[in-house]
Assembly symmetry: C2
Homo-oligomer: 319 residues x 2
């Protein structure tokens, strides 16, 4: 089994009543500094302020009534947990989220706000916890990635970009486990051969770059990153084969460049992004990724969840 | 003489090659909290990050070759000075801006960046200075408002809203001297009678509310406001008669509400606005302005020029 365009089209029909068709904007004011035609797909304006809601909704809408009545579980301190909580509230079902003690209060609050049950855990214990909850209460596990329902949901971002910007030449996708890029890659490459797909990951966590070089799943050392949405140390297995097939290039970007990208987006484009979302723009700005002036480049802005205090990160950043 | 729809249409044709047709976005994620359908016209994404560029460009493009060759002058520490500097660079002409010593370094830098000559002055001396520069060097004075060319340029915002959101019910316009609202009012009311126009000003500087009540231009006491784009103490004379004719209601908003509006826009809509631009959203959020759930409400986001440090204003603001 793999992911196909028709899965993504079916996911789109399924989730359309619930998601926001987020805008694609041209950012004229960034074009001189980045050196290409700049477009952004604003998933930071999605429900729960991240693309994760698409995949979660696509998974939940395929559960049976009995599964729905028992509820769902996941473990996440980030946008996936937030999406699970909000989607469950929307569908009127019970959600339980194992939240590691490393989670920032801001994320915890969002998950709580939507009425999910929070069970404190640790990074090490969290998967054991969720498995035990599945066993004890019969909850259905909704993983953050490496799941075809999730990948198909995320892929709807690609369908919308093609519809909103059919003349696009390049799409840059921030990548952690690879659910989003494998979804977008499948949606785009099974529709047209005129668009190039580029993955971008922190230089401190080059799991896709290394895995692609080695031709096999490769776990990298966790050197840490400020991009709290891009912390995977190994590609999802189901995602990796799609990435091998459909992604044109993969890029790594420095921590400094990500901060520059976030600050540029905020101060010049007037758009608040998570630092993970600005990785490709930061890479270009800092000379780590090349583009051409005639290229129509679409950057997927994956999310905008950050606490006001986190802006301190970029207080002293110049771009 | 007054302002007419055809002046604004002519202005639009004139400035189209230079301006950004800024997006109108629906902000689904603010609708529950504000209690209406929420749309924003994003002039913070305009060239120079403010609507002021439209009026300035419309004025400059009507100068004779001789006037252009002599150059232009204005006095402004804010978005008008920035727009004059950038527009002059675009047209390859000389600009001189009298900048009062109260101007924040951030604004000064923007004016300098675009190559305008800066002459330091004071708030009290600035008009005398610009008059003496006109006399000595033959510069053409481009005032920030109370000028039909400027008003016509600003009115193009209204034409674009009608085109981008023909079903709009209400348009809220932050108001200082009144150039923008008289332009938008004329553009909209001479096209359709189905849209209501609402002015919004700081409660500390209720010059339009007072003038409308008194039926004549009324200067108000300067109690100060954090909304640095809304500091006029008296309506522009040419603007006032248009406002009397075309504006449906005028609202005053507290300082606290403006801060709430700015923070809501940043944290929930992911859009960075000047505090002046969030005045209507803040007013609704804080219960100072009423709207109805079935209303399609468009908020003009007039600008997004602020230094990173200015975000400190809203550090402790809850919404």
């Amino acid at each position: 089994m793999t992911l196909s365009l028709s899965d993504i089209q079916a996911a789109h029909e399924r989730i359309k009543p619930y998601i926001i068709k987020t805008p694609v904007l041209r950012l004229h004011n960034l074009e001189e500094i980045l050196g290409c035609e700049v477009y952004v797909k604003l998933e930071n304006m999605q429900r729960t302020n991240a693309f994760k809601f698409r995949g979660v909704m696509n998974a939940l809408l395929q559960l049976t009534d009995e599964e729905l009545s028992r509820g769902v579980v996941t473990s996440s301190s980030g946008n996936h947990g937030h999406a699970i909580a909000y989607a469950s509230k929307t569908l009127g079902i019970k959600a339980t989220v194992g939240v590691p003690d490393t989670a920032p209060p801001f994320k915890l609050q969002k998950i709580e706000e939507h009425g999910a049950e929070i069970i404190p855990t640790t990074v090490e214990e969290r998967f054991k916890l969720q498995d035990s909850l599945v066993e004890e209460f019969g909850y259905t596990l909704i993983p953050p990635f490496n799941d075809y329902r999730i990948m198909a949901g995320q892929g709807t971002v690609g369908l919308e970009i093609l519809e909103q910007l059919p003349e696009v030449d390049h799409i840059f996708v921030p990548t952690s486990g690879g659910g989003l890029i494998s979804g977008i890659g499948t949606a785009v490459k099974e529709t047209t051969n005129t668009v190039k797909i580029h993955g971008v990951e922190p230089a401190n966590l080059p799991k896709f770059s290394e895995s692609l070089k080695n031709g096999e799943l490769t776990q990298v050392e966790n050197k840490g990153t400020i991009a709290d949405g891009l912390v995977s140390i190994i590609p999802g297995e189901k995602n990796f084969s799609v990435v091998q097939k459909y992604v044109d290039t993969f890029h790594t970007v420095s921590e400094e460049a990500m901060k520059k990208g976030q600050k540029l987006m905020l101060m010049e484009a007037k758009i608040l992004t998570e630092i993970s979302s600005s990785i490709a723009i930061g890479g270009i700005l800092n000379g780590e990724i090349e583009v051409n002036p005639e290229d129509k480049v679409c950057f997927v802005i994956t999310g905008g969840n950050l606490g006001f205090d986190q802006l301190d990160y970029i207080k002293d950043t110049d771009y």
